[in-house]
């Protein structure tokens, strides 16, 4: 111990140190009572999430149907449903359309447009920024049924708003370009989330880093490449993960094109609905759902890997 070169001034009052005890069980409930508090939530999760998921896995292995003898007495058929799905051109068609839908409306549309808007508005203030953000967010918060009807009214061949604006007569946008229609629709609908996420992310890019690049003479694109993207890489990947999965499982296109014409916009979510509930093949539909689940898992793992290798 170091020698005190001067004795402490004992005339001053010294405060009594208050003893503090820390415990792992901060609330002091004990294991069982804590478990009792968590039980209702766990029960709800089990009933509404875990059980249906397991039920779908089971149904996928049966020939369960909505009506008829197979509805009364479903039989386990093993992997037959999966094998027939993989041999079915309509399944592959739907998968390919879903890939187009995700790449077009989520990756390119929502991420691209969302980032572009956030970047352009990053140091704007005043009414312009508020109006743009307000419109974009409005598209996001309106109920699906409402916006679907609005888009049908917009794109309809018979007196549709777009035809009236462009003077294109009775051009049937939804029949001629069904995939493009739902891609543009979903981009419009979902951009708000990406815009807000990137708006927040761009706020985290240190201004001095951008200024340092500007002083070095970096162009706008070089500033994005060397400063902005490295800083918001994590945000980009998280954003891509979330909206890829959301878009992959999105059922709203059904409300605009109903998968038609002739299956040209029948993405997987719509495909499952059609085979399971319209054709009544619940077992087959459950098998396709399981395949979708697996695809989702692969996509999620891919992004999470990227996210983890960030450093």
């Amino acid at each position: 111990m170091a020698q005190a070169t001067s004795p402490p001034d004992l005339t001053r009052e010294t405060a009594e140190p208050t003893a503090r005890r820390y415990s792992v069980d901060a609330a002091g409930l004990g294991r069982w009572r804590a478990g009792a508090f968590a039980a209702p939530a766990l029960l709800l999760i089990a009933i509404f999430l875990v059980f249906p998921a397991l039920w779908v896995l089971y149904l996928g292995l049966t020939d369960y149907r909505l009506t008829g003898t197979a509805a009364a007495d479903p039989k386990v058929v093993g992997l037959d449903n999966f094998l027939s799905a993989l041999g079915e051109p309509t399944f592959w068609n739907s998968t390919w359309l879903t890939v187009q839908f995700v790449l077009g409306s989520a990756v390119i549309g929502q991420v691209g447009l969302g980032f572009a808007i956030a970047w352009l508005l990053r140091d704007k203030r005043g009414p312009l920024k508020r109006i743009v953000e307000g419109l974009v967010i409005l598209a996001w918060i309106l109920p699906s049924a409402v916006v679907s009807f609005l888009w049908v009214a917009l794109l309809d061949a018979d007196g549709g708003t777009l035809n009236a604006l462009l003077g294109t007569g009775d051009y049937a946008w939804l029949l001629e370009h069904p995939m493009l229609s739902i891609i543009v629709f979903n981009t419009w609908r979902g951009t708000a989330f990406s815009m807000m996420l990137y708006g927040a992310a761009l706020g985290n890019v240190p201004p001095s880093h951008l200024e340092s690049a500007r002083l070095a003479g970096a162009s706008g694109w070089q500033q994005l490449r060397d400063v902005v993207f490295p800083h918001i890489k994590g945000h980009i990947l998280t954003n891509l993960l979330l909206i890829s999965l959301w878009t992959f499982n999105d059922f709203t296109p059904f409300m605009i094109t109903a998968g038609g014409p002739d299956g040209k916009s029948e993405v997987l979510a719509v495909h499952v609905y059609k085979v399971a509930l319209q054709s009544g093949q619940l077992g087959y539909g459950a098998a396709v759902s399981t395949v979708i689940l697996l695809i989702n898992l692969v996509v999620a793992v891919f992004y999470l890997r990227l996210l983890r290798s960030k450093k």
Binding site: P206, S208, H209, E211, S212, A213, R214, L215, A216, G217, A218, Q222, D226, V227, P230, H231
Partner: protein, 360 residues
């Protein structure tokens, strides 16, 4: 290498805040120039306007006889060290230092060679593969300096370059920076709010207040003869005593005591005039007894506080309810409650009239 000239430079922020008010300033080639002032005085805005990161509302910025007022920051041939160093976290030291060269499309081998050269000069050669996150504050600062040096720009701008370092390192970096600037001979403007830093490093300095330069001069001039009471109060590690005084012939009446009129103001004061008498605590000689048995020329009072400054003590005297401070060498410090006398040095004391220095 280039001189920097500012002509009636004005910056008004949206909302009407006037950050720079028609500034004129010439910084000759090779000078180490400090911009000093309290927070919000406009010193950082001035530096950023020279850099082009802020656009001037009026006036001109001339670097090396080229009017760059409307030139983008990248085209001004200047380099800047930011307060937080602004090193790119995803690039190693080599890439950080070479970044401006990469933007200028210097070939990879060449820019890595130059980055290595500059880094070696700053003692960074063993850290070239590290990321900024793996470096200490002092090392990061040197990487930022290396990046600036690698650009071979005409002028360097430093924004509070030492404020992110701890106190001990700051002193080392101060000496290092001054030596480096002298060796490179590049015109350098640096911003600081620390008057000791400005006094220690700068060849010349400008003291700013509310968008206006209040004094430009060498550190010695600014310290010894502050041009106004603002500079007088701002410069110095212990603030100058600024005391209300009335002229009484050859003496000034200060806090009920009589002190001789300082040499600098001799013959310039009218009898009965109200002025401000200024003397630094360092130039205020403290004595427990009046010199030669008379209290002539000294401020007599009672010791209220004694602060230890290390090799000296700052003694605060209560002179007829006016606070007067004096610096006393170690070993002769008084005790609180003692009677004491502070005799200002005639050749160092100053007189201010309406806030401005009275001088020939």
């Amino acid at each position: 290498m280039a001189a920097i000239e500012l002509r009636r430079l004005t910056k008004v922020y949206p909302g009407g805040v006037k950050a720079l008010d028609a500034l004129d300033l010439v910084i000759p080639d090779g000078e180490f120039f400090a911009l000093l002032g309290p927070s919000g005085c406009g010193k950082t805005t001035l530096l950023r306007t020279i850099a082009g990161l802020e656009t001037a509302t009026g006036g001109a910025v001339v670097i090396g006889e080229r009017d760059v007022t409307s030139v983008q920051p990248g085209g001004r041939d200047i380099a800047m060290v930011f307060q937080d160093y602004a090193l790119f976290p995803h690039m190693d030291v080599t890439d950080n230092v070479a970044y401006p060269l990469r933007i200028k499309k210097v070939a990879k081998a060449e820019r890595h060679r130059r980055a290595g050269e500059v880094a070696a000069r700053l003692g960074l050669e063993h850290l070239m593969d590290r990321r900024p996150g793996q470096l200490s504050g002092g090392q990061q600062q040197r990487v930022a300096l290396a990046r600036v040096m690698a650009t071979q720009a005409q002028a360097f701008l430093f924004d509070e370059p030492l404020s992110n370092l701890d106190a001990r390192l700051r002193l080392e970096a101060r000496t290092f920076l001054k030596k480096l600037q002298r060796e490179l001979g590049v015109t350098t403007v640096f911003v600081t709010h620390d008057q000791a830093e400005a006094l220690a490093m700068a060849d010349r300095m400008a003291v700013m207040e509310a968008g206006v330069i209040r004094q430009i001069g060498t550190p010695a001039e600014v310290f010894q003869r502050p041009a106004n009471t603002f500079v007088a109060g701002f410069i110095g590690s212990t603030p100058m005593n600024l005391l209300d005084a009335v002229v009484r012939g050859d003496t000034l009446e200060v806090a009920g005591c009589a002190v001789p009129v300082p040499d600098s103001a001799a013959g310039l004061l009218a009898d009965g005039e109200k002025v401000v008498y200024g003397v630094r605590p360092e130039y205020n000689a403290y004595a427990p007894k009046p010199a030669e048995g008379s209290s002539e020329g000294a401020l007599a009072g009672k010791v209220v506080i004694v602060e230890n400054l290390g090799a000296s003590h700052l003694v605060t005297l209560d002179v007829n309810d006016v606070t007067v401070q004096a610096v006393v060498p170690e070993g002769s410090e008084p005790a609180v409650g003692d009677e004491g006398f502070a005799a200002p040095r005639r050749d160092r004391a100053l007189v201010y009239r309406d806030g401005e220095l009275v001088t020939r």
